[in-house]
Structures are given as C-alpha cells and as structure tokens.
C-alpha cells in the first residue's frame, strides 16, 4: 500500500505492517478530536517514524496516487484540522 508523508515523498508499506500504523492513526485522531497538542505531536512523530522504518521509498518518477496520506512532521494540530476540513488547505 502506498503511503505519502507530506513534504517527504511516497513509501510502499507492506500490508502486514498496517496494523501497527492503524493503532497510531487512532491515537492521532483522538488527539485531534480532543485538541491535545502534545499527544498529537507524539503520535504524529511516532507514526511517521514507523512509516519510514517499514516503508520502502518509491522512485521519484513514479506517478502512482497514494492510498494513505500523512501530514508533514512539523504540522500543528490546527493545521491538520483545517486540512481535514471541507475547505481544506491543499491548493487546487
């Protein structure tokens, strides 16, 4: 499964490694819902480190869309909220 870490590029993560990522993703979501910035920071950092560890970087000239996309490592909780919101931050 192809995962993009925004600002870093795309990685291919084996299906067997997804369970661990899912658990971290749940923590990330809970932190966003409660607005807990420090839990959010830790969860995001851990999630990205995990993806970098288990994932294999795709060649830069691949044109495949990602199934999963993760915010950049220095994103703030409000920024991610905006990205997930209807208007979104991502330029057209």
């Amino acid at each position: 499964m192809i995962v993009r870490i925004m600002g870093e590029g795309q990685l291919d993560v084996a299906d067997g490694d997804l369970a661990a990522l899912n658990a971290l993703d749940d923590r990330l979501e809970a932190a966003i819902d409660t607005g807990d910035e420090s839990t959010f920071r830790t969860a995001l950092k851990e999630l990205l480190e995990n993806v970098r560890t288990v994932g294999k970087p795709l060649p830069p000239d691949s044109l495949e869309p990602s199934e999963l996309i993760l915010p950049p490592v220095d994103a703030a909780i409000d920024e991610v909220r905006q990205m997930l919101g209807d208007e979104g931050l991502i330029p057209d």
């Binding site: 997804l18 495949e64 996309i69």
Partner: protein, 267 residues
C-alpha cells in the same frame, strides 16, 4: 485508517474535480502539463526566496558578531587601564547582543531546513513532471480516446497529489520566510538607527573614554605609577604641565617602563 484515509480522500477529490472540468482527454494532458511547469517555477522561486532570507540573516549574524567581539576587546582594554566600570558597561552591552544572536542563529537553522526541504521537493516534482511528459506522449500516440481517459486519470491523480503536496510545502515556507523577513527588517532598522550599536562608530562612548585615556595603559595609571616611584602622594586629578617637567629627569621613558600585569589583558 481515519486520518491517513481522510487526507488521501481530500487529495483524490481535488484531482477528480480538476479532471471533471476537462472535456477532451488530450486537453487534460496538455493543460495539466502546463500547470506542472508553472508549479515547478513556483517551487524554484520558493527555494530562491528562502535562500535570500537565509543570506540576509547570515549578514546580520556577522554584523552582530563583529560588535560582540569589539565589546569584548573594549572590556579587556578597559580592565588593562584599571577601569572596571567601563569594562562592566561593555560586558553588559555584550550580554544584550547575546540573546539577539541566539534568536537569529535559531532562525537561521530553521531556514536552512526549509531550504533543504523545498530543494528536495523540487527535485521530486521535476522527476514526476518528466515522467508525466513521457507518459503523455505515449498516451497520445497509442490509445483510443476511451482507453486514453483511464490512462490519463491514473497519471493525473499521481501528479496532482504531488502538486498538492508541493503547493502546501511552498505555502508553509512562504509563511515562515514572511515572519522572518519582518524580524530581519526590524533588526536592520535597529542596526541602521544605531540603537544596537550606540557603542560603535562615531557614537561609541566606551571607545571615546578609552581613547581619552590614551592608547595602551592609561595616562592616568602611568602617572600614578610614576608618582609612586618618586615617593609622591597620589597624583591630583588635574596636573599642570609644569609639574610634569619638574620630575622629567627622574622619570623613566615610557619604553623602559615595566607595565604591571593586568587581569584580562588581551595577548
């Protein structure tokens, strides 16, 4: 897969919206390619912009470091001539610069990081744009209109995701450099107005005081020493020239005088 999934859905829906606006698949290819080239230009401008801000900071850091060194030297000199009050003043001012410099150096690190990130992003995008161009030509030459649509959609969603990612990276870098430009501008103004350096250049009061005391060990200190050698009482504050001449014969010439070792003397 909540957060990760939702983010990818947002990217996909943006790509689909852009595709829906196109009537003819071939038009989609060419239009998208143009957009990609524009985006590449934008990223390169972004990198250049960050680099400019970084160089400006570097310049300011150098200026402040020079002032810091100057104050250190002045502090040493003041101690050599026994003026602890002046030395204290110089060191107090230097401490004020220390925190400014700390801030600037931290900002510099941050800008370096941004520059590196955007440079890499620009390389990634370049590789994808090249790949897209190749695929675009293949699609145009090989497929019927119906087949082309599928192929185009595949290529398009991949590249548009990259463009969205890079676009956001540029936005974030721009915000950071704007903040830093404002700060750098404020420091430039301070440097120009002399508020940061009322102790250098023509308005340098510490230097003026040190100069007044003569170069090398101060005249006053030397006089005190000579007086002591001649077994006189401490010299009065104002000396008239006549007094100095009267003892001229017994006084050693300045070159022969053994200077007392002073703490903090710059070697």
């Amino acid at each position: 897969m909540s957060v990760m999934k939702r983010m990818s859905m947002i990217f996909k829906s943006k790509a689909n919206k852009a595709l829906d606006r196109m009537e003819d698949p071939r038009e989609t290819l060419d239009y998208s390619y143009q957009r990609q080239l524009e985006m590449l230009q934008k990223v390169r401008r972004g990198v250049a912009d960050v680099a400019t801000s970084r160089k400006r900071l570097e310049l300011q850091i150098n200026q402040l470091e020079q002032q810091q060194n100057k104050l250190t030297e002045q502090g040493k000199k003041a101690l050599q001539v026994g003026r602890e009050d002046l030395a204290r003043e110089a060191l107090t001012r230097r401490a004020g610069l220390d925190s400014q410099l700390g801030d600037l150096r931290a900002q510099y690190q941050q800008l370096q990081g941004e520059e590196e990130k955007l440079t890499l992003a620009s390389q990634r995008l370049q590789a994808k744009v090249d790949a897209f161009r190749t695929r675009k030509e293949t699609i145009k030459a090989t497929y019927t209109a119906a087949e082309a649509q599928t192929k185009i959609n595949e290529a398009f969603s991949g590249i548009s995701e990259e463009m969205g990612d890079v676009g956001l990276a540029i936005q974030r870098a721009e915000e950071k450099t704007e903040t830093m430009k404002a700060r750098a501008g404020a420091i430039d103004e301070l440097l120009e107005s002399g508020a940061l350096e009322d102790f250098s250049g023509p308005r340098d009061d510490i230097q003026a005081e040190l100069d007044r005391m003569g170069s090398g060990p101060g005249v006053d200190v030397e006089l005190e020493r000579l007086k002591a050698e001649l077994g006189q009482a401490p010299a009065p504050k104002q000396l008239n020239p006549g007094q100095q001449q009267a003892h001229g014969q017994q006084a050693a010439s300045p070159q022969q005088v053994q200077w007392p070792q002073q703490p903090g003397g710059g070697q």
